[in-house]
Amino acid sequence: MDNILQTIGIQNYVLLSTLLFCIGVFGVLYRRNAIIMFMSIEIMLNAVNLLFVAFSTYHQDAEGQVFVFFSMAVAAAEVAVGLAILVAIYRNLTSIDIDNLKNLKG
């Protein structure tokens, strides 16, 4: 049962996940297109999942992988509902630019 952690070490995976998470944060703040923001949120979720699996392998404990499994189920549900909301917004406003969604502003 050889795996990558014997040659790489956990630090590189921590660094990779941090960078991936920051790219996701950057995407949410940088874009106005709501779909791209959703994709950035997916990237952030994946960064966290990757670190979960890395530490699960590091501690040789399968429970971290079970948590990733549940987080994937929640991510799938979140994307389905979120995209449905986006479709509804697009029907009403014919745009998904988030700067147009100011109706609640006083």
Partner: protein, 170 residues
């Protein structure tokens, strides 16, 4: 060893291209590549079950959903209005600050396992994982059932939300 660096470079590059490409279709394609490389990382960890599930759920379901939505909204044009320059600079600065804080907190932390060694015990094959997940005494059978309810509710909600509203007649 080199495989890790190649995969990581592709992951980070495609994640960045997902965000900066103007056409949403291109973003979705880059996102598929990003998810595949993350699946490759799972294979490197020898986590077979999660690698397969990741490919099926993310590349198979979520990105297809994204692509259908993009096509439904007919967004494959490149005339999206950009944010103002100052907002972009602020976004870059805050992302860098988040990275700085996270990295500073991780670089000072001590590993819980002082020295990593492989016991050779099989802990993440599909068989073992199924036992951990659905064990009768200390398994995760109840959260598993709740996940199925969550998916059912999400499906009903998505159908209800995306259904065309009838013309209001009172």
């Amino acid at each position: 060893m080199t495989l890790f660096y190649i995969l990581s470079a592709i992951t980070l590059a495609t994640a960045f291209l997902t965000i900066i490409s103007k056409n949403p279709i291109h973003s979705a394609i880059y996102l598929v590549i990003c998810f595949f490389t993350i699946g490759g990382h799972y294979v490197l960890f020898n986590a077979q079950f999660l690698a397969i599930v990741h490919i099926i759920v993310y590349a198979g379901a979520i990105v297809v959903l994204f692509l259908f939505t993009i096509m439904l909204m007919n967004l494959n044009r490149e005339n999206e209005t950009q944010k103002k320059g100052l907002v972009k600079v602020a976004a870059a600065i805050s992302a860098c600050l988040v990275g700085l804080v996270l990295f500073a907190s991780f670089v000072k932390s001590q590993p819980f396992v002082p020295e990593y060694y492989v016991t050779g015990e099989d802990f993440q094959s599909v068989k073992k994982l199924g036992k951990v997940l659905l064990d009768e005494k200390e398994g995760f059978a109840v959260p598993f059932e709740f996940a199925s309810i969550l998916l059912l509710v999400a499906m009903i909600g998505a159908v209800l939300l995306s259904k065309k509203e009838k013309q209001a007649n009172g």
